[in-house]
Amino acid sequence: MSRIELFRTATFRLTLMVAGAMVAAMLAQFLLLYMQMTHFEARRSEAMLHREAEILARQPAARLEYLIQHRATDDLRIVINDIGLFDADGHYIVGDLQLIPDGLKPDHVVRQITVRAPEDEPYAMRFLAVPVDQGRILVLGRSLHMLGELEVMTRRAMWLSIVPTVAFALLMGVVLSHRALSRVKTMHEAIDRIMGGDLHERLPVARERDDLERLAGSVNRMLDRLEHLLDEIRNVGNDIAHDLRTPLTRVRVRLERALTTSTDIDTLREGIARAGDDLDQCFSVITALLRIGEIENGRRRAGFGTVDLCQIAADIVDLYEPIAETKAIGLHLVVPAVPVWAHGDRDLLVELYANLIDNAIKFTPDAGTVKLVVRVTATGPESSVVDTGIGIAESERVAVLSRFYRSDKSRHVPGSGLGLSLVSAIAALHGATLSIDAGDGRAASPGTRFRVSFPEMPRPVVRH
């Protein structure tokens, strides 16, 4: 991995940001410290000036002059850097200050004034002027050098603490990003292998439950799901191939036989017509598959409206009655006297009921009964198709809804094997749930109940 790559990692950037924030916090701390110190020092100088001025002002005039003259040998000079005595008119009497600084008045107020001595650079000092005996004015000054020293000290301490902190943060950033990069690199390699077609490969997940690990875990779960779906598709593909191969083989055989054995035009026609019927069966499988796909994609909502489930059920029973009669099966309609409204697509619901009834009749032995029940429950409209047929074992109830599933008991019954998949796709599109349990039959033929529970209508529909 290149150096640039290292500095581009999220970890490195994060470290930089943290280091930046730390430096900012330290700067603020030092600034606060410096301000506190200068404030303290200013208060201290003021107090000192006032105290000295008070002591000196109490001295008699001659003593005061003496003290000022000999200040250089006195410990007074440590506290007071400049001193001057002036008469009432501001004329110089004694001291190292030759002039009263501009703007200074004998009013006991400490002022910071920049002094412009003729031979020196201008410099700032704190001055205090007080009136003393004989109308004279005593001026005391204290330099700001302590403040300057404080500033230098603070600045030095600041650099001493910030530079190592930043250096350490950068070093940590490099180390951590290097670690992150190597983890990401192993994931990249795993992903490359998956993209290369190895769908069983997974991202490495260790025991640290950090964000990267959790992400890897999510990706792995997604891969599990995708692999499962791909397997399903592969299986469906195989099932389709098998289901189409049988009728196609028959078509081939019939055409071949018609070609080689037909002696007259009628036998030839007959053979070709039968081949055509077999091809139709292939088409019906393909059509059913396409329809299921279409319905599962949920694109068909244009036909949705308010429908009366009782009316649809009655129509379907009317359509299937003759078929039931041929098997001496009693086809009963059990509906309330009032309409049961649902939000749905009439054509699709017809198809749903038709498939369920068709199925029920197919799997119910002669002289059995099939019931189509529509009722309103607390959770919404519900309809069920109950038969007295061979029944579906509990273990098989989920599987029957999958594509091409044919229970061993029903191998001999013709059909595309897609009817129930279609039913469950239509139910799903309507937000309805499809459940299967035992019907009304006796132990030998327990029968089956397919229940379709619709959601409550979104809002009451007023009809007249």
């Binding site: 017509a273 279409e294 036909g303 054509d347 197919k362």
Partner: protein
């Protein structure tokens, strides 16, 4: 189902007379050739166009008895062609062909001005029967009494007699018989019956229509009587009064 259109139709259409003119707009050349040949064999006069724009131009330039329009066409799609023609007051009946089977697609095809909708793949017999249906309007007389051959149907009393013998029919059987009697000598496919008599648009797994027709036939054609309801193998049924 293929080529099984038997002698009834051949007998009812005398040879040389030029048949109905069909404009057929379809972009798949191989399908178009097959279908055109088959339609010509059924004495249709076929003009084939491969694109939407060419088809539209042909429909505007000439008059046809019926049109077959594929939904998906290069340059201009089939529904646009139909809409354009309808906006120009061209009322030629149109059969829409489509590989899309959803009811939504069907509805949009019919809304655009199509008169019927057929999903690929289909049997030629189905196509021919539907063209026939578009060409010949049903005998929608205002009469309250239909008399065809030995049959007499009272539309108000919902009573049917054959040579004076009363026939008891269930409401659904009556509807089916009325539909067939109004379209005599015409091939009616199972899908057509299911769509128009019952208003259902699904392909049943069982031979539903055959069972219904069987029930009706046993009531209408008593033993020894000539059959009025005839099966046409692999195609459908026909109501036909023997001479």
């Amino acid at each position: 189902m293929y080529g099984a259109m038997t002698d009834q139709v051949a007998a009812s259409t005398p040879e040389p007379q030029p048949g109905p003119r069909v404009l057929f707009i379809e972009d798949d050349e191989r399908i178009a050739d097959e279908i055109s040949d088959d339609l010509r064999a059924r004495s249709f006069v076929v003009r084939h166009e491969a694109t939407g724009t060419a088809g539209l131009a042909a429909a505007q330039a000439e008059t046809f008895d019926v049109m077959i329009v594929d939904r998906m066409l290069p340059q201009m799609d089939g529904l646009t062609v139909i809409e354009t023609l309808r906006s120009q007051q061209v009322t030629t009946p149109v059969l829409v062909l489509s590989a899309l089977s959803a009811v939504d697609d069907r509805v949009s095809g019919l809304r655009a001005g199509g008169d019927d909708y057929l999903t690929k793949p289909f049997a030629m017999e189905e196509l021919a029967a539907r063209l026939e249906a578009l060409l010949r309007r049903p005998n929608d007389t205002r009469a309250t009494m239909l008399r065809v051959g030995p049959l007499e149907i009272d539309l108000i009393e919902r009573a049917v007699t054959r040579d004076g013998r009363p026939i008891e029919l269930l409401p659904r059987e009556f509807r089916l018989l009325e539909y067939m009697v109004r379209r005599p000598d015409r091939v009616l496919t199972r899908t057509m019956l299911l769509e128009e008599v019952w208003n259902y648009r699904f392909i049943p797994q069982t031979n539903l229509v055959d069972v219904h027709i069987g029930k009706l036939r046993r009531k209408v054609d008593a033993p020894g009587e000539p059959a009025l309801i005839q099966s046409i193998r692999g195609v459908g049924f026909m109501f036909h009064v023997p001479d």
